[in-house]
Symmetry: C2
Amino acid sequence: MKSDVKNNAIGIFDSGVGGLTVLHSIVSRLPYENTVYVGDTARVPYGTKSARTVTQYAIGIGEFLSHIPVKALVVACNTASAFALDALRGRFDLPIVGMIDPAARRAVAASKNGRIGVIGTVGTVKSGAYGRAIKHISPDVEVLAHACPLFVPLAEEGWLSNDIARLSAQKYLEPMKRHGVDTVILGCTHYPLLKEVISEVLGEGVTLVDSGDEAALDLEGLLVDRGLHRKGGGASHRFYVTDTPDRFVEVGESFLGGRLSDVSHVDIP
Amino acid sequence: MKSDVKNNAIGIFDSGVGGLTVLHSIVSRLPYENTVYVGDTARVPYGTKSARTVTQYAIGIGEFLSHIPVKALVVACNTASAFALDALRGRFDLPIVGMIDPAARRAVAASKNGRIGVIGTVGTVKSGAYGRAIKHISPDVEVLAHACPLFVPLAEEGWLSNDIARLSAQKYLEPMKRHGVDTVILGCTHYPLLKEVISEVLGEGVTLVDSGDEAALDLEGLLVDRGLHRKGGGASHRFYVTDTPDRFVEVGESFLGGRLSDVSHVDIP
């Protein structure tokens, strides 16, 4: 019975292609796990939408994934993690990993001067979720959060290191740098593609925390603890999108860092 | 009876705040008309979504507006006009104005060398709707279409004339300029906010066609023809959004060029 559950996939979802960077982190760390990814491309982006709307979408996707079934759920979207994690945990009897807490813990551990920057979508920043998670661990840490709306289209255009990317990073990050943060959380799954230019602007002394890498680490811990860790065999990776697959495939491969096959359409209410 | 219909509002809808530039054009041209605006902010943007999905959303909004009732419908979104206009015309017995045809006619009239550029979202450009509309009027015209995904967040950030806006405009528009277009259609309702920087890059010899201005002119013609034109009295302007109103109000006022009041939430299936 237990061995059957081990073979169940890990369910991962995001509003679109961004969560593929998280899937990349998960597959790198846990190469034998089967995965099912849902990209809610008919309703992307979540970053400018309200808590109520995003929670409703997340629960719909959770229902779909839990019926596949899956053995764990990864909310590979910072906005959905900020808004909907409690509602998901109340509804589904599954190990659930979000983006916020793992990255917050890593940032607190990494910061030497107690000044942490958080960058993300308007929704994630407005939610204040990273600030709360960080202060829950270490109340004296100072948190500076800033939304960077141009980073998502820059990543999707593949403009990762041109003048426009550099100037946008400067405009968004200079105030944070001047304030002396020594650690910055990449609080949006699109941002790892811009890691180089972000790091260049912030300078070598600043540690970048990738929320996807930290979530993958957390997921590994949960699976090992519960005896659900799959340690060998071939792994399958399936993808569902709520809009037509064409653009998801076109843009998504640079996010995944690999070929996207087995992508189907699904309607989720 | 006819006078009652005259007092009915004009229904205008868009995926979000962009259509407020069209509303601005309509109110400038038709100051005595009542209006009801729907911004589908829970599902914005339409620009990266498929024809099927956008058509389904547009019909839902058409149902909502036709029950208010309204005396005419303006699809103040280029993507929805490109994808859903025929479906809307088949379904609703109302004068319906889209963004594509009025701008296409104006561009053909304005161009002297028969080279017309079209800029818009990925969805609008991929649909090829402007090219078809232009070639339907004048088959020999050469049409160059290009998507400019950064323009929407630039407009929403209010970065209308800084280095980032200028460099993005150069990167998107230089190939079109080199090709010698003498007329460019602003085929996305966000783009009029960036008119200055677009014009600066393209140069003085290039005519910009604002799809909202042309749609307002078309709407006036339709209302006058059918005796539905309201010629005096105070006008009311109501707004509905499918997500919570806060961000719509925050970002929308620069698009409307005025105060946004009377904004309510509505659920549209």
